[in-house]
């Protein structure tokens, strides 16, 4: 267990005493220096060789100071302290080089959780939200998201979140065989009082770097999730996860539209079943074409494609008059068996064509240069 040598910067004397006492009483944490004035700490803190800086950012100028602290203490991790959660400030400090954002006053448990969450993974630098949208009905996207989340975590070594926002009939909990204590209903209900660290506990761990925020337990709870609280929750989750995959109800509704607008990438997913999938895909695409950057932001995926080859992909592209980003083969028995057992397809047969296709998509996402804004 590493020893944390803490430099604490806090302008308020009472708060300073309170936080100092928490740091001193936390196992493996040593308070090596403290300052009420950030400038002073910048000049003199170095002699104490801190490796963790807890920096108040509520005082003016602090944002600028974050940058200076990053320069002055390259070996230390910086956590910004604020008395309230502010998504904009959080993303600004992280862009300035801080590891994360912690609400004060905090407890020992919260401090440790913050270190574990932000410290090890180099988190908070960038995050990408991807919404999986299906025009009509069954698309196979839950299977896709579950497996893609696992593959992305493996490839990138970074934290991945799956948010089941298919509010009425979300299947993620069943897919992963979870009986969640908290779901999207509680997370959005509590969001005003949460910080990233406390939000993290609403997500259920399903693998080393993959967490799931499960859907509602009963369809009537769906009404309790407001689009505003939902997007606030997504924006807070950005400081916890490198990739956030959002499963939304099919068609255009307040939640699927809110998720799409909060995302860097929207995947339209449709299952080939011999009906009018191409027509529906086109119809949905027409709406997204109102976005000026739709060509980079909106991608299409077809599932249960037989034969799953490049000719078929080109055929589909011709049909919808739009590039097809990925095609997935039909693996009905594999998928249903995996779902029935509460396990994902990649978990069972890593070499299967379906797992390989999803892996390819994960590589594509992982290899993509991050675009700010």
């Amino acid at each position: 267990m590493p020893e944390y040598r803490v430099l604490l910067i806090e302008p308020n004397r009472i708060m300073m005493e309170r936080l100092s006492s928490v740091v001193r009483n936390t196992k493996n944490f040593q308070l090596v220096s403290r300052a009420m004035d950030a400038r002073e700490a910048l000049g003199q803190g170095g002699v104490f060789v801190p490796n963790l800086i807890l920096l108040d950012i509520d005082a003016q100028e602090s944002m600028q100071l974050v940058r200076e602290f990053v320069r002055a203490f390259p070996q230390a991790g910086i956590l910004a302290l604020s008395s309230q959660w502010n998504a904009q400030a959080s993303s600004a400090v992280v862009k300035a080089g801080a590891k994360g954002y912690l609400i004060k006053p905090f407890t020992s448990e919260e401090l440790i959780a913050a270190i574990n969450t932000f410290g090890n993974s180099g988190m908070g630098m960038i995050s990408e939200v991807m919404t999986f949208f299906s025009p009509k009905g069954k698309s196979g996207k839950t299977t896709l998201i579950a497996n893609l989340g696992m593959a992305l975590a493996q490839k990138s070594g970074q934290n991945v979140a799956i948010i089941d926002a298919d509010l009425q009939f979300g299947d993620m909990a069943v897919f992963f065989n979870l009986d969640p204590q908290s779901t999207i209903v509680e997370a959005t209900r509590d969001i005003k009082f949460l910080s990233p660290i406390s939000l993290n506990s609403y997500f259920m761990p399903i693998a080393e770097r993959v967490r799931v925020l499960c859907g509602t337990k009963r369809p009537e709870f769906a009404e309790d999730v407001s689009p505003k609280a939902f997007t606030d929750m997504i924006s807070m989750a950005r400081s916890l996860f490198r990739y956030i995959l959002v499963d939304v109800p099919s068609a255009f509704n307040p939640i699927s539209v809110a998720a799409a607008e909060a995302s860097e990438q929207v995947y339209l997913v449709s299952m080939i079943s011999g009906g009018y999938e191409g027509k529906h895909m086109q119809r949905a695409l027409d709406i997204f074409k109102a976005w000026p950057d739709y060509e980079t932001k909106v991608k299409t995926i077809f599932t249960r494609v037989e034969p799953c080859d490049i000719q078929k992909q080109q055929q589909l592209e011709a049909l919808i008059e739009y590039p097809v980003c990925s095609i997935l083969p039909n693996e009905y028995l594999l998928v249903s068996e995996a779902a029935n057992n509460g396990r994902m397809a990649v978990d069972i047969k890593p070499g299967s064509p379906l797992a390989r296709s999803i892996d390819l998509l994960a590589a594509q996402i992982y290899g993509r240069p991050y675009k700010v804004g």
Binding site: Q168, F169, E220, A251, K279
Partner: protein, 277 residues
């Protein structure tokens, strides 16, 4: 007041087709229910309440001029009784004729439809038909709940394929019961009964605490074929197990024995019709 009650008694039977999972065959069942009821001599209208991605007109190869969007808009702007005839698209194949109230032509329209106005439209058209069949989406939306309230009978379509689907059926059924719908109002219809699955039908019935009212055979290719032909299976000349299964369902619903002869007549006249087209 008394007259109003009498009017309601005279009004048509509303049969809603609902499910908690997508792609279970709601639309196929809806058009076939409508066709079979029409073939049996009833005046029938099928309404596409999948407002954004409705497939009824796709399945019947119809190109509607007016849709439910126009109808509900007119209902909103009109005081008193409206003539819904002009919003209807007729479907005709051989001797079978029924009406279709189509889903909106574009998505913007679909997004701007008032539930209250749709209910008004349905109240209006049920006065002109023996049966009104409603095809829905797999969600408890305001609209679906409102039309289910209004419905005489809800056909709850399910597939026994894998656990999440069954969980959603159970959760959906519990929800409908908790809203206060009578058991008798909800009829479970199982589609694709012999599809590849490891799950036993009895287990599902035990979980639901309800028996399936009717079971339709798995005949995916026949279904797809009929969609592409644009002809409901129950009125197609070629008899199929799935078409027969759907006819049997309507027989149960209408409490009548099957009339084999009318099919014979229909095919003869169709043959003649085709000759003189």
């Amino acid at each position: 007041m008394k007259q109003k009650v009498e009017e309601e008694i005279r009004s048509g039977i509303i049969m809603t087709v609902f499910s908690t999972a997508s792609a279970v065959g709601k639309t196929l069942l809806s058009v076939n229910m409508a066709a079979e009821l029409a073939r049996s001599g009833y005046k029938v209208c099928v309404v596409d309440l999948d407002l954004q991605f409705g497939d009824i007109c796709n399945y019947l190869h119809l190109s509607p001029q007016k849709t439910i969007y126009d109808a509900q808009k007119a209902a909103e702007n009109t005081v008193g009784q409206l003539d819904y005839g002009e919003y209807i698209t007729p479907y005709e194949y051989e001797d079978t004729i029924f009406s279709v109230l189509a889903a909106p032509l574009n998505l913007e329209e679909a997004y701007n439809i008032s539930t209250q106005a749709v209910i008004e439209v349905l109240a209006g058209i049920r006065g002109e038909y023996d049966y009104v069949v409603l095809d829905t989406t797999a969600t408890f939306s305001d609209l679906n709940l409102a039309v289910m309230d209004l419905s005489t009978m809800i056909t709850f379509v399910g597939i026994v394929d894998f656990i999440p689907t069954i969980k959603n059926m159970k959760v959906g059924y519990d929800t409908m019961r908790s809203i206060g719908y009578e058991k008798n109002k909800i009829r479970f219809v199982l589609n694709r009964s012999n599809s590849k699955t490891h799950i036993e039908l009895q287990d599902v019935e035990q979980l639901l605490e309800e028996r399936f009212y009717h079971i339709l055979p798995n005949d995916f290719l026949t279904a797809i074929d009929s969609i592409h032909q644009g002809i409901p299976l129950v009125i197609n000349d070629e008899e199929t197990a799935l078409g027969r299964g759907m006819q049997e369902l309507i027989e149960k619903y209408t409490n009548r024995a099957r009339q084999k002869s009318s099919r014979k007549n229909a095919s003869l006249s169709s043959w003649v019709k085709r000759l003189f087209k």
